[in-house]
Amino acid sequence: MNALRYLGRRAVSTVPMLLLVGLITFLLIHITPGDPASVVAGENATEEAIQEARRRLGLDKPFLVQFVTWLTSVLSGDLGTSFTSGKPVTELIFERMPITLSLTAGATLIGLLIAIPFGVFAATHRGSWADRTTILVTSMGIAAPEFFIGLLLVLVVALEWGILPATGYTPFSEDPIEWARGLILPSLALGLGIAAELTRQVRGAMIDVLSRDYIQTARAKGLSLFSIIVKHGLKNAAIPVVTVLGLQIRRLLGGTVIVEQIFAMNGVGSLAVRAVFHRDLPVLLGVALTTAIIVLIINLIVDLSYSYFDPKVRAG
């Protein structure tokens, strides 16, 4: 099947990048000033304890050996052990992944729910005050820090009006409704940040597509406005938008670091922040690696979506 082969080929080409990402992650340990071993061993460690830590971290072996050892353990799912809690990093991350992923997914959804209607409307009503307002608002939206919007939302909606919770997270399995309610504000805070850029992209792409000849053909066929815009227009406008969406999701993942703090959610982001204060290097590296891998997977998905939106890509 052509699609599977294409998927396979694209997946394989990601491998070198995965290795590079792994290398960079590994190299991050070595930018720690001074001696990681003494950091790990603690403030008042004895010389022996430091040596012990060095051996434990494998820092006494040559670089390549260290890297390969680390790589092999990563590939078998072992991201090391947290300095603070002693739990395996992999476990810590996976515990918190659903929260961060729910947040990211919710933010993406909100971003799209805003961007597509507003972008399409602005494109089909070029020059109108609605269009001009959209351009203005999106300029401002691109500039505002997502956490500021989050703070405002907490202030107004949660604290003043009290209709949505200000903090916390309820797992989906426990109570789907509370899960959704708890996600609305944080997703909004994060999602509004990308909605602005996405709206711009949708607007630009639609303006371009709507001026094409095949749109005139669609009109001449007597198709409904909805069909013309949504069926004929959006599919062709999708490629540049999806590309930007991939980049914005990467930004979202970064933004979780802050939004999780604001809304007191126990996700991967807040795990990383706490790890900084405890100098918990394995956790930090684990989070870095995991998020980079997620980004690469998303890039792959975006890549694959091209073949859906643009039939010419499938041949290549």
């Binding site: 930018i31 820090p145 607007r203 930004r251 802050i258 922040v273 900084v276 100098r279 930090l284 980004v295």
Partner: protein, 295 residues
């Protein structure tokens, strides 16, 4: 060189003569206003001691979390310090920090981009791949991790941000370098025995200035935002230092009782970043070859 090639030389430099540039730029009201606001903020930062109504570190336990009044224009924070004065002084830290981060990004990204674009071949491929790999990490997460390695402090935070944004500088520089490398006059220069260094200095660098200027302006805004984020989390400016982000972070827990400090800090950050973005847009229009899209 014939007349035609001489004209190509003149056209290829993306940065038009200063008079044209200024004429185009001054016609853009949004960009002009943004520049004005940024200059104003810079002046406030420079003349902070003269402008601030109160000493920023003076805490008054009787005046904790007070609302805005004629004495305390934006109220006080949880330690009884005047928010307005602190914001004014914090502008120094925030602006300097952004410039620091940008400088680091330039120091790393500019040479890499030049080498990658000019030398080409395997070097280019390797450097670009490394660049892409770094960009695979979400910016804020990579910054947090680097700060985790180096230890929380404002300088480390800005170093982290500089490293994180270096790839973007590299890309812009590489792109401009590539477009120049293929120009006829560069080959002509090489043919007449110009050394690589001379070519880079005389031909490549002028061509880079335009896009680099635009990207740097935008990155200043991003760096400010990132610094605010890191300081908000407590990973950047450490007390008693205060940047706008740090102020946002300390005001947040008391938002229910006293929302003004939070809103003020956030607003200041947003407006400044907005100005950087709009300025960048304006520069892009005034500098680049006529390439208008959408609007």
């Amino acid at each position: 060189m014939s007349v035609t090639t001489a004209n190509t030389v003149a056209e290829a430099n993306t940065l038009p003569p200063p008079s044209t540039f200024w004429k185009r730029f001054s016609r853009n009201p949004t960009a002009m206003v943004s520049l004005g606001i940024l200059l104003l903020i810079t002046l406030v930062a420079i003349f902070a001691p003269e402008l601030a109504p109160h000493p920023p570190a003076k805490s008054s336990l009787r005046a904790v979390l007070k609302p805005p009044s004629s004495l305390y224009w934006l109220g006080t924070d949880d330690l009884g310090r005047d928010v307005a004065s602190r914001l004014i002084y914090a502008s120094r830290l925030s602006l300097v920090a952004s410039v620091q981060a940008l400088s680091i990004a330039l120091v790393i990204g500019l040479p890499m981009g030049l080498v990658s674009g000019y030398v080409g071949g395997w070097t280019d491929t390797v450097i670009t791949r490394i660049n892409d790999a770094i960009m695979s990490f979400p910016a804020l997460i990579l910054a947090v991790v680097i700060v985790g390695m180096l230890g929380p402090s404002l300088t480390n935070a800005m170093t982290a941000i500089g490293i994180v944004y270096a790839p973007r500088i590299m890309r812009v520089v590489r792109g401009s370098t590539l477009s120049v490398r293929e120009e006829v006059y560069v080959m002509a220069a090489r043919a007449t025995g110009c050394s690589d260094a001379r070519i880079i200095i005389h031909h490549v660098l002028p061509n880079i200035v335009g896009p680099l200027l635009v990207q740097s302006t935008v990155l200043l805004g991003h760096a400010l935002l990132a610094e605010a984020g890191l300081s908000f989390l407590g990973l950047g400016a450490q007390p008693p230092q205060a940047s706008w982000g740090a102020m946002l972070g300390t005001a947040f827990p008391y938002m229910a009782q006293s929302p003004v400090p939070t809103i003020a800090a956030g607003l200041v950050i947003s407006v400044t970043v907005l100005c950087f973005n709009l300025l960048g847009d304006g520069l892009r229009d005034s500098v680049g070859r006529a390439r208008r899209s959408g609007e």
